[in-house]
């Protein structure tokens, strides 16, 4: 016969956990006895099988016990029945929990100050990640309205280097892929967002936004028309031949008064009569997350007619920058995987090479339906950073509440001691305290979700992209918030509960309070809070400095009070000669407007793409490409460009009226180009061959400026005279004596006096161009700054709480010492030191943390290093100041301890 160890040990352990304590001994005894009897009969294997059946049955029994009302209170009370004290232990689990929660609620209500503090802290801690999760959820999981199965969509972009891309496609490319891709169930394209003036029933109305789309655009997206139909394949073949349009629900209601017979009506856009064939469903906005969608959709083939491009060949044109205009989306064929489609498109791309333009280029296939690769990458890195930041905030809040609970568990020593003495088991106390923190977690979670609800729209408005959808938390986010709340509550409650369960009964009853002994756990938690907030504050300082350095960096040109109006003369149907006469007339009109200080035109606007040429470097020049060529950025500008744009000349003269069409070709080069072409020499008067073998004479040297992106290496630039190098795409730049956007209406009006049908491409101020460029740095700075401030407040509160608590606990000791003549100042210093010591540890740890984390922030910073000593030093200073403030009040309180009072209360 087997001894005490008859049952397998794991089984015994398992059952001991499973069974209520009152039944543990006798049930295990019965099992042991019966098992031993079976083993003694010699059927050990059968006995084992039997054993597992027993365990299963016991589990069912235990479960039933938990679900049924308790046995004891209803049963006959007999003296021998009370073989353990009444603690509620033998009640069922479900009832235990309810009781724990009810009791917890009462205890918390008794100290509302504590409960409210904890709930606020938890609410802030949980609200931060919930808000960010709401954003992330909407950004990456929002489905474009009315688009069927967006996860089956793939986008095709032009790529200029392996893995890099995001460019639009050209017509022939699109046609080629559409024809050959078998893994796709259709490839659609859109492009050319046109602002057209429209006429209804012969009455001149307002302007509308029209988008040119391929005939299968709606089919590929899976959209069903609200009225009428969408486009037919034959309506996209011949440029200008099929003036048909689909209008948006909004336009139909607004401009067409919801006319039920809208199909077949005519709307005239830019003078062309379009027949309305259908109405798109309400809310449909294509794949964009950033715009409300156009008012009308027209076939791609109508683009030329709508923009009055006289050049009939534009439809087939290949090697031209402007012809790269199509955004392309495909839908995976049934059964086709993304990878298969990607491989097929890549193979197709490799077979498609145009000698002049496509060399070295390929395509980038992306499953991100809404964002371009660069948008997706920047949103992803921003989301990651924000998630990391809010997790830190959450950790700080958790530690903060843990400290609050720990302190409370200590002051509740007497209560807990009494309950232990009355027979409450440790497990029971542990559960009780955990139930309390769960209650706090639930309330904090509710506050957090409410905060997220209130603030996620505001947070979204800080993002660098103008999202259309509203940002309310949805079910997915709510579930995560609940999980976070429970986890936080358990994490915050576990240390205090464990500690309380270890309460020393005798000590607790005797002293009522534990002695001034410090808790390592509590100190550790405070240090952790300080450390984590240092990381955030350092991050916020870094981002603020980065944003500042982006905003204040010298661009080399002016941005204030400059209005930019883009006019595409070729799209408007101007011949070169017509264009050449239009520009001076337009400049003259604009110059005559009140409040205009200067006007010019420029082919290129900073941060908006590039136009360049490769020169064979003349003798003595320094090449700047791997192929030994000299890469030169180009621009064609009108008279006054340098003055209007605020670009300084370091040598020579600017381009002016003397550089007209028939005059000798002149060029202004920037310092970098001058240095590369004629190292160590004066560039003025030198000649250089550019473009169609014309020889340009350098008339001036301009100061380097920023041309393509913030913080770029100094790069080459050559400015030619617009009159000598005519460009049909021009930007009018107007220097105004007030906010530039106030001049939009007068400027457009002035130009329309020359040509009433003039359409403008891009109208904006240089200031907003620059703001768009720096927005990403601003977002990081603002959001991390907000969360950093939150972290700082929480950490300060934590420190204040702990130091105050220490003072409160040591009141008696301090009183005695004062009674014995201790110096008040010394007492205060001691208290202050205890707070600063904790803060010091935290700062040290935080510095180490910030150092470790620095590489994650590098990609989000501009102009400063992630380990920037100034930012770190500033963060340390801020924390030191906050820690001092947080410890000062308790220190002062310590000096006010009245010895008599302190000794009497004990």
């Amino acid at each position: 016969m087997r001894g005490p160890g008859g049952l397998p040990r794991t089984l015994r352990w398992l059952l001991a956990r499973l069974l209520p304590r009152a039944r543990r001994d006798d049930v295990l005894g019965d099992l042991e006895e019966a098992y031993a009897a079976r083993v003694a009969r010699g059927a050990e294997a059968a006995a084992r099988r039997w054993l597992w059946r027993e365990v299963a049955a016991l589990s069912m029994w235990r479960l039933g016990m938990a679900l049924r009302p308790p046995l004891r209170p209803d049963g006959p009370a007999r003296a021998h029945d009370l073989d353990e004290p009444w603690t509620g232990r033998t009640t069922t689990m479900g009832r235990d929990l309810l009781q724990d929660l009810r009791f917890g609620l009462r205890t918390l209500a008794r100290r509302p100050g504590f409960a409210i503090t904890a709930v606020i802290v938890l609410g802030l801690g949980i609200g931060a990640p919930t808000t960010v999760l709401t954003l992330v959820n909407r950004i990456f999981f929002d489905r474009p309205p009315d688009v069927v199965e967006p996860h089956r969509l793939v986008r095709v972009w032009r790529s200029w280097a392996p893995g890099q891309g995001g460019g639009s496609l050209m017509n022939p490319d699109f046609a080629y892929y559409r024809e050959h891709a078998t893994r796709l169930n259709g490839l659609a394209a859109w492009g050319g967002n046109i602002t057209a003036s429209y006429t209804l029933d012969g009455v001149r109305s307002d302007q509308l936004d029209a988008l040119c789309v391929s005939d299968n655009y709606f089919d590929v997206l899976g959209v069903v028309p609200e009225r009428g139909r969408f486009f037919r394949a034959e309506e996209n073949h011949t440029p200008g031949a099929d003036p048909v349009a689909v209008v948006s629900d909004g336009f139909w209601r607004r401009a067409l008064a919801g006319d039920p017979d809208v199909v077949g009506r005519t709307v005239s856009m830019n003078g062309i009569a379009f027949t309305i064939v259908g109405v798109a469903p309400a809310g449909f906005r294509g794949l964009s997350a950033f715009s409300r969608g156009p008012d009308a959709w027209v076939p791609l083939a109508m683009f030329g007619a709508l923009t009055r491009a006289s050049d009939a060949a534009w439809w087939e044109r290949v090697p031209d920058m402007r012809s790269s205009w199509l955004s392309v989306v495909g839908r995976l064929a049934p059964g086709a995987t993304f990878e298969a489609a990607q491989a097929e498109l890549q193979a197709l791309s490799d077979a498609l090479i145009y000698p002049q333009r496509n060399e070295g280029e390929g395509i980038l296939v992306s499953r991100q339906a809404i964002y371009s690769p660069s948008q997706a990458a920047s949103l992803l890195s921003l989301s990651r950073m924000l998630l990391a930041v809010v997790l830190i905030v959450l950790a700080i809040a958790t530690a903060n509440v843990a400290v609050l609970l720990l302190s409370r568990a200590t002051t509740r020593g007497r209560e807990l001691g009494i309950r232990t003495a009355m027979g409450a088991g440790r497990g029971r106390l542990f559960r009780q305290l955990l139930a309390e923190s769960l209650l706090l977690g639930a309330a904090g979670g509710a506050v957090g979700v409410a905060l997220a609800w209130a603030f996620s729209d505001a947070a979204a408005s800080l993002l660098p992209y103008p999202f259309v959808s509203s940002f309310a938390p949805d079910l997915r986010v709510l579930l995560v918030a609940v999980a976070i709340s429970v986890l936080t509550a358990v994490l915050a409650g576990i240390a205090p509960a464990l500690r309380a369960a270890r309460t020393d009964v005798a000590g607790a009853l005797e002293g009522g309070r534990s002695t001034g002994r410090r808790s390592r756990v509590r100190d550790g938690l405070v240090v952790a809070q300080v450390a984590l907030s240092l990381v955030l504050v350092a991050g916020a300082t870094l981002f603020a400095r980065s944003f500042w350095s982006a905003r204040t960096q010298d661009l080399g040109f002016a941005t204030e009070n400059r209005l930019v109006l883009q006019v595409d003369l070729r799209a408007l149907g101007y011949s070169e000669d017509e264009g050449r006469t239009f520009i001076p007339r337009a400049l003259e009109r604009l110059r005559a407007l009140p409040g205009v200080e200067g006007v010019t035109t420029s082919r290129m606007i900073p941060f908006q793409g590039d136009w360049s040429t490769d020169l064979d470097p003349p003798a003595g020049a320094i090449p700047n490409t791997d192929e030994g060529k000299l890469w030169v950025g180009l621009n064609a500008v009108s008279t006054d460009y340098f003055r209007v744009m605020g670009v300084d000349l370091v040598r020579g003269r600017p381009l002016g009226p003397e550089d007209g069409e028939g005059d000798p070709p002149a060029v202004v080069v920037n310092e970098t180009l001058a240095g590369l072409l004629w190292p160590g020499q004066d560039a003025v008067g030198k000649t250089v061959e550019m473009g169609d073998d014309r020889t340009f004479t350098v008339v001036g040297v301009a100061r380097n400026a920023t041309y393509y992106e913030l913080g770029e290496e100094p790069t080459t630039q050559a400015y030619a005279s617009e009159a000598q190098v005519h460009q049909p795409l021009v930007h009018f730049v107007i220097h105004t004596d007030g906010p530039a956007t106030d001049w939009i209406v007068p400027a457009e009006g002035a130009l329309r006096e020359i040509d009433a049908g003039l359409a403008f491409g891009w109208v904006t101020s240089m200031a907003s161009v620059f703001e768009d460029v720096t927005a990403r740095y601003q977002v990081s700075a603002v959001l991390v700054g907000l969360f950093g401030a939150l972290a700082l407040i929480l950490a300060a509160a934590g420190l204040y709480g702990v130091v105050s608590f220490l003072v409160a606990q040591r009141t008696r000791e301090i009183g005695v010492r004062m009674a014995l003549g201790a110096d008040r100042r010394r007492v205060a210093t001691e208290v202050l030191r205890s707070g600063l010591l904790l803060a010091g540890f935290g700062v040290g740890l935080g510095l180490a943390g910030a150092f470790v984390l620095r590489r994650f922030t590098a990609s989000l910073l501009y102009g400063i290093e992630p380990g920037d000593p100034w930012a770190l030093a500033a963060a340390c200073l801020v924390l030191a100041a906050v820690a001092t403030l947080a410890s000062l009040a308790p220190a002062r309180r310590a000096t006010r301890v009245d010895p008599m009072e302190a000794i009497r209360t004990e």
Partner: protein, 107 residues
């Protein structure tokens, strides 16, 4: 009596308790049920029935002293309450009543 009726299984268990007397505890009840009634019943089921009986006031239990045979673990002893005994007798009376046949009937 509270008007509670005995289930068939409950009745069997209570009969075992009565039969075993001083020795009525989980493992012993299981053994008796197996040997005398030919029913292999799990301890879990037995405990559940005993709990039910206790709730109805038919049985009572208390912890005994630890015994070496059981790995030093105590036994929970069960005994019938007067109410339990009444219930068993009532049950038996009804059965007898139903078993009895009218005079002259053949078996």
């Amino acid at each position: 009596m509270k008007g509670e009726r005995l289930g068939e299984f409950e009745e069997l268990i209570l009969l075992c308790v009565r039969k075993l007397g001083e020795e009525a505890h989980g493992a012993a009840i299981q053994e008796v049920l197996s040997e005398r009634a030919g029913r292999d019943v799990t301890l879990g089921a037995i405990y559940a029935a005993l709990d039910r009986a206790q709730r109805k006031g038919f049985a009572d239990s208390w912890l005994g002293e630890p015994t070496a045979v059981r790995g030093g673990r105590a036994k929970r002893h069960y005994a019938l309450t007067p109410g339990g005994l009444d219930a068993l007798e009532e049950s038996r009376r009804i059965r007898d009543l139903l078993w009895a046949r009218p005079e002259g009937a053949r078996s």
